[in-house]
Symmetry: C2
Subunit: 309 residues, 2 copies
Amino acid sequence: MKNQDTTPLRGVYAAVLTPVDDDLEPNKKAFIAHCRWLLANGCDGLAPLGTTGEANSFSVAQRLALIETSAGAGLPMGKFITGTGSCALADAVALTKAALAAGSGGALLLPPFYYKNPSEEGLFAFFSEVVQRVGDARLRLYLYHFPQMSAVPITASLIARLKNAYGDVIAGLKDSSGDWNYSAKLLEEFPGFGVFSGSEQFLLANLRAGGVGCISASTNVTAPMAQAVYRAWQRPEAEDLQKALTAARLALQAFPFQGGLKELVAGMTGDRQWRNPLPPNRPLTAAQRDDMLARLHDMPGMRAILEPA
Amino acid sequence: MKNQDTTPLRGVYAAVLTPVDDDLEPNKKAFIAHCRWLLANGCDGLAPLGTTGEANSFSVAQRLALIETSAGAGLPMGKFITGTGSCALADAVALTKAALAAGSGGALLLPPFYYKNPSEEGLFAFFSEVVQRVGDARLRLYLYHFPQMSAVPITASLIARLKNAYGDVIAGLKDSSGDWNYSAKLLEEFPGFGVFSGSEQFLLANLRAGGVGCISASTNVTAPMAQAVYRAWQRPEAEDLQKALTAARLALQAFPFQGGLKELVAGMTGDRQWRNPLPPNRPLTAAQRDDMLARLHDMPGMRAILEPA
């Protein structure tokens, strides 16, 4: 393990998009360049290989290669929360070990998401096996609560059991439910738990309630606006900054997410490979693209990002 | 490719359970022994590495090793329909290639099941990439329709597009929806399509409607009873045989499926490792086990299987 510092992870995170080349292999060069842009434009840290990064659509070998590439490129791995989830225990363990070995500050772990309605006992067994097989006290796991996508919620009761068994290793949670009340409930029940909101729409509310920041798909483009909120969150002007940020987020999520965000990065970088879709995700239609660009163009904050002077 | 014959695949199939050793690795010896028992006791063919086989809970490496082990053990691979699904295109391709190279008569392919509500266009792109990257006209794909588990249905419209593009390569479908009307509709719309019912409860109805058989979890133990129905399906006595088979199936599915079936095989083989649960699945509780055994003991057909003279 290298690079790792022990600063608690917090702030604005992007759930980093993964570009693919024409053969549908991860485009490592474009990926690293995008990571650098994000870190230079408002991101405190990065969360690659999550839902937005289409991790589950890549093979384990492709994911491992992307982790190694990131470390090899000298990115600040200690600020990374790398997605290492898999339905397969052995793969989740291998990915989590690799992320830790590469210096990743945290690992974002989905529950096993193939079987529906698993018992709490079964989920506890899965996460326990991961923690025990990784076998490293420096591990910092962030549980990934995204019931609309995984269909397997991370309940407060499960968190309590895991924290009781593994303490600081169970470092936090990404709440992608879109239900702000759930984050609030967890922060009340588990003070100091590292709760990231899955949407920058709730960034200010989350920070005020004791949460640590956001890990969001749309911060792949809204990062500068999200950072403005993060810097100002204890000051009155945070309200207006959050309003502008929320408007941008809501406009973006009105379109297919992967396709829309990749379209915007393609436009910003001039690299057409960013538009390549990885099945089953699809690119925007021309009409969707025009509609999205028109809506974003009317927002000064977004215009400054998409069309820098 | 070896072993492969060109007889259309039909009859009674078990979705083969995968035993794990105390370290949660596939127990290859017990797996092969169970495959042999199934083939000697009513199964016309085998469908390993599906939902019942907990394929998605095993790493790609573990799945590939199990395919090689089956071929190496001299099992009749031409009668296999091997589960090769993965959310990751590259893994689905690697597994399907390996199954074909091992002589597997068919491959049972899930849709990519992480992203919910994917477009038909996106699903078509995924299956198309698999077919084209495998690039072998001998491939026989069985689409895996299990909306309760995958959350991604295989629609008639998608089947039509795939059959139109790839002809005989799109050989059939496993209908695990539990909705017999869906199988009937597909058989009407696609005459000759290789529709397997996902439950032996619908075996007789499926055969009468032009379907080819069943691929079922519970045939891991009910195979002798299911074979009796299959042999008799054009004769009047088939009705009563199906009634007894249906009763057994309904009793079994009243309990957690993996756990219950593994408990029964543990009892039949005397091998306690069959009880090892692979997270997130769990074993039966003692009360569930006693309840299940009592119910099955009252059925002469099941008693003959579980307690042979």
